[in-house]
């Protein structure tokens, strides 16, 4: 993987995951064309995106608890499938 390849992948990945699962394969075929390497990388990323990621989703250190005010505000947020800060804020 090179930075150049990564920058090519970014918009394709963003566009692909917005599409229904049934349409993704065709989309990947269309945008990658004959570029086998691009297709391989994009397909792998999409597959990984759909799977559970394990510990990556849970911060190793919860710095929010350092400060009580912030801890109350952010406590209970879901940091799972949609990433940080996607849960409902508590008052």
């Amino acid at each position: 993987m090179t930075p150049e390849m990564w920058q090519r992948l970014k918009p394709l990945f963003d566009a692909a995951i917005e599409k229904p699962a049934a349409e993704r394969e065709r989309f990947v075929d269309e945008v990658c064309g004959d570029d086998i390497e691009l297709k391989k990388e994009l397909t792998a990323l999409l597959k990984a995106n759909d799977e559970q990621t394990g510990y990556i989703d849970t911060p190793v250190v919860n710095l929010g608890e350092w400060l009580p005010e912030r801890g109350r505000r952010w406590h209970g947020q879901s940091l799972r499938s949609d990433g940080p800060g996607t849960g409902t804020h508590r008052a």
Binding site: D14, N49, P59, V60, E69, Q77, L79, G83, G85
Partner: protein, 197 residues
């Protein structure tokens, strides 16, 4: 950075306000702020190292002392907001945990038998996998070569528990951009870490 909370004496002492004053160069505030942060950290540090390996040898007290030392060695960091403070702290935490993991690895190679004394509350919770901090750190370094912003987003989340909103504030990009970058970085890290032995 303005704050609306004030003490009875008219002096705002909330951490938010202190951070704001610190960003304006008030060193006296720094002297009051750092011990306040230190106390908070000491209180909770042990409880939040949840996924280190079971034979982790880092004591919460050592973590705190190292964190505190590094904080006061960075007096010129422009802590413009709480988010910026957490951004600094997340990098600090990453370095502490990586340094520790490297030392532990070196100790094993040298045949040193570590006497592990773990506080019960820093063991991984039942049913949760231990984390290989070095593997994650190395994968993050590779990600940063590919896309520095994505690497920073993962660091802010994983080692600092910042929300999308806070990460966006630190990096001065939209939350939508943070979410997009996070999603792709997360997928890539999953692939990279699955390759680890």
């Amino acid at each position: 950075l303005a704050s609306t909370r004030s003490t009875a004496g008219g002096q705002d002492t909330s951490i938010t306000a202190l951070l704001g004053q610190l960003s304006e160069g008030n060193r006296e505030v720094e002297a009051r702020l750092i011990p306040q942060i230190y106390e908070e950290l000491r209180r909770v540090a042990g409880r939040y190292m949840r996924f280190e390996r079971v034979n982790h040898t880092l004591q919460p007290t050592a973590l705190v002392n190292e964190a505190y030392t590094k904080l006061i060695q960075e007096p010129h960091v422009p802590w413009k907001s709480r988010a910026h403070f957490f951004a600094t702290a997340s990098r600090l935490m990453r370095h502490i945990l990586v340094d520790h993991a490297r030392a532990r690895r070196a100790g094993k190679r040298g045949g040193v038998q570590h006497q592990v004394t773990l506080a019960e509350d820093i063991l991984p919770a039942p049913g949760q996998s231990p984390i290989d901090v070095l593997a994650l750190h190395e994968a993050l370094e590779r990600l940063t070569v590919l896309d520095p912003r994505q690497g920073r987003i993962v660091e802010l989340h994983f080692f600092g528990s910042l929300s999308f909103e806070e990460i966006a504030a630190v990096l001065q990009v939209s939350e939508r951009t943070v979410k997009r970058d996070w999603r792709m970085a997360r997928a890539w890290l999953k692939l990279e870490l699955s390759k680890e032995p």
